[in-house]
């Protein structure tokens, strides 16, 4: 007997509105259907009515965590359309923010993963440390989330010596702690027992379903836009591509902590090698007719913007594909044959988050398929009757 459990779209524990319909047999998930659109704001259509500068701030609002990813992806495409060469210092600051953002996003996720796995002290430690990077971002850009530092042709704020020293200091602290988290996350027996072997996605599935980002990397797919299509400053930086071959949630944890460690390396390199000069160049108001494809490695995977210009100050077409959409077909496969209790863990492992499965007040007999609705009044009556029916308990006796 199989039946459907709806999770979302509006769920007290769901951070984003998405509807998942799980077909379950007992505790085992046999099928998943994902329905999107509850948060569809028609941004691609809106972008056609806004000029290039307005669109920087529009694209920044696509995502509330990796806001800088979308703005940067858009801006680097527009710069290519306008044939601009932003000054080196501006680019270094822009991608410094990118890496700081990756750190804050991955630390956020690690905390959530710890929380979903029932390891709440890990969650609190990681989120405490995330504040360090949030403070650095606020110091540099003035904001914690929507940094608004990008402009066409460079960035809007410069770095001074004091800020550089503070970033290095913060990163040194984070590095030490992240190494500890890597050791903890990969060896703590109860944590590993909870996440190992959960949400399996084989290498073949990851390739055929076009998975991207840490999800693909944890299945052994060594793909990273920063390596294979190095944009702006990434061909000057020394970093490694992090993968894992366990194909499960454990692998996704390991990949993300390793990526964070690589990001610290890149941040240090960028701060130490920050060139002198201007931070932005002047951009024209209009772009010549043409088209470009801009790719960016966001914390969650490949982010791609297709931009077509028609000679005016507005885009003819802006197509955005955020990495999470690319990972949904893979998520369906990860959830299949898993347990209901693993849904939050697996779903959180691609990086959107839901905390717990929705419970229904329609009870369905697992074997017979009979439905019976429990009314609120019945529940209340049962709750009141429960202590009366319980056995008599003696008061605890102090042993001494």
């Amino acid at each position: 007997m199989s039946f459907e459990i709806p999770i979302g779209p509006q769920h007290p524990a769901l951070k984003e509105p998405i509807s998942l319909r799980m077909t379950v047999e007992g505790e085992v998930i046999t099928g998943v259907d994902i329905r999107l659109g509850y948060n569809h704001r028609g941004l691609e259509k809106v972008a056609e009515d806004k000029n290039w500068t307005q669109n920087i701030y529009l694209t920044e609002r696509i995502c509330g965590i990796c806001s800088h990813s979308h703005a940067t992806c858009f801006v680097q495409g527009v710069e290519r359309l306008m044939e601009l060469a932003p000054p080196k210092r501006g680019l270094y600051i822009r991608y410094l923010i990118s890496e700081l953002e990756r750190v804050h996003s991955h630390l956020l996720w690690l905390g959530v993963a710890g929380h979903e796995a029932g390891f709440d002290s890990f969650f609190m430690y990681v989120w405490r440390d995330r504040e360090i990077v949030m403070d650095l971002l606020e110091m540099i850009t003035g904001n914690r989330v929507h940094y608004a530092i990008n402009t066409i042709g460079g960035v809007r704020r410069d770095l001074d010596e004091g800020q550089k020293a503070k970033v290095l200091e913060g990163v040194a602290t984070l590095k030490k702690r992240s190494e500890y988290y890597l050791r903890l996350g990969a060896t703590e027996p109860s944590f590993v027992a909870r996440i190992a072997g959960v949400g399996l996605l084989s290498y073949e599935q990851a390739v055929s379903l076009c998975a991207t980002g840490p999800v693909a990397k944890a299945s052994g797919v060594a793909r990273d836009v920063r390596k294979e299509d190095p944009y702006a400053v990434y061909d000057e930086l020394d970093f490694e591509l992090c993968t894992a071959d366990t194909c499960d949630v454990l692998g996704r944890v390991v990949v993300r902590v390793k990526e964070v460690l690589e990001s610290y390396k890149m941040i240090e390199q960028m701060i130490k090698g920050l060139p002198d000069g201007d931070i932005a160049c002047k951009a024209p108001r209009k772009a010549k007719p043409g088209e470009t494809v801009s790719r960016y490695e966001a914390p969650r995977g490949e982010n791609i913007h297709y931009i077509k210009a028609n000679g005016t100050d507005k885009p003819e077409r802006l197509k955005v594909r955020a990495p999470t959409l690319g990972n949904y077909p893979a998520t369906v496969e990860m959830l299949r044959n898993g347990f209901i209790a693993d849904i939050p863990l697996i779903f959180a492992a691609i990086d959107p988050c839901i905390c717990c499965a929705e419970r229904t007040v329609t009870l369905i007999g697992a074997r017979s398929g009979e439905e019976s609705v429990v009314r609120m009044s019945d529940l209340r009556r049962k709750a009141l009757a429960r202590p009366l029916n319980a056995g008599v308990k003696r008061n605890a006796v102090w042993p001494f």
Binding site: R80, C210, T292, Y306, K319
Partner: protein, 157 residues
């Protein structure tokens, strides 16, 4: 393999099928195929050029035609396959048989542009609500959003 090698190789493999083969920027290769050649071209890209990763499919309203761009990425370059269908008869084949991960992007094209993807394994709506009126395709250029009149219960005070 550099971009020029890939362009030369594509010319040899696809011959007259690959129209407008260009390489406008580093690691960006564009070419156009007829809709009938789409699936064979995609199969070739997947098997010979290591382009199993489909980034997304972009739809464009170009007036008389709809253009679709399939953005593929291999470890060394990105290849963008363009195809066009007439606005009067917008049908083209699904590539889900070759790239199973394409299904969400094709579903999005169907509802946003009002095109028919033939042979799509799952043709339901993806983003638009269930009560969205038929025949309204938001990403078409002639579609304009009209904000419905706000009705305040009890009237304005």
């Amino acid at each position: 393999m550099s971009d020029t090698d890939i362009v030369e190789s594509l010319k040899r493999d696809l011959g007259a099928k690959a129209l407008e083969l260009t390489n406008p920027a580093v690691r960006r290769i564009f070419f156009k195929v007829a809709t009938a050649d789409l699936v064979p071209a995609v199969t070739l890209l997947r098997d010979k050029y290591d382009c199993a990763f489909l980034s997304t499919i972009t739809g464009l309203d170009a007036g008389e035609t709809f253009e679709f761009l399939y953005h593929f990425a291999s470890p060394v370059t990105t290849i963008h396959v363009r195809t066009a269908v007439a606005r009067s008869d917008p049908r083209f084949p699904s590539i889900c048989g070759v790239i199973p991960g394409a299904v969400l992007y094709e579903r999005e094209l169907q509802e946003m542009f009002g095109v028919v993807v033939e042979g799509i394994p799952d043709g339901r709506r993806l983003n638009l609500p269930d009560d969205w009126p038929d025949g309204q395709y938001p990403m078409r250029k002639d579609w304009k959003h009209v904000r419905p009149q706000e009705i305040i219960p009890g009237g304005e005070s």
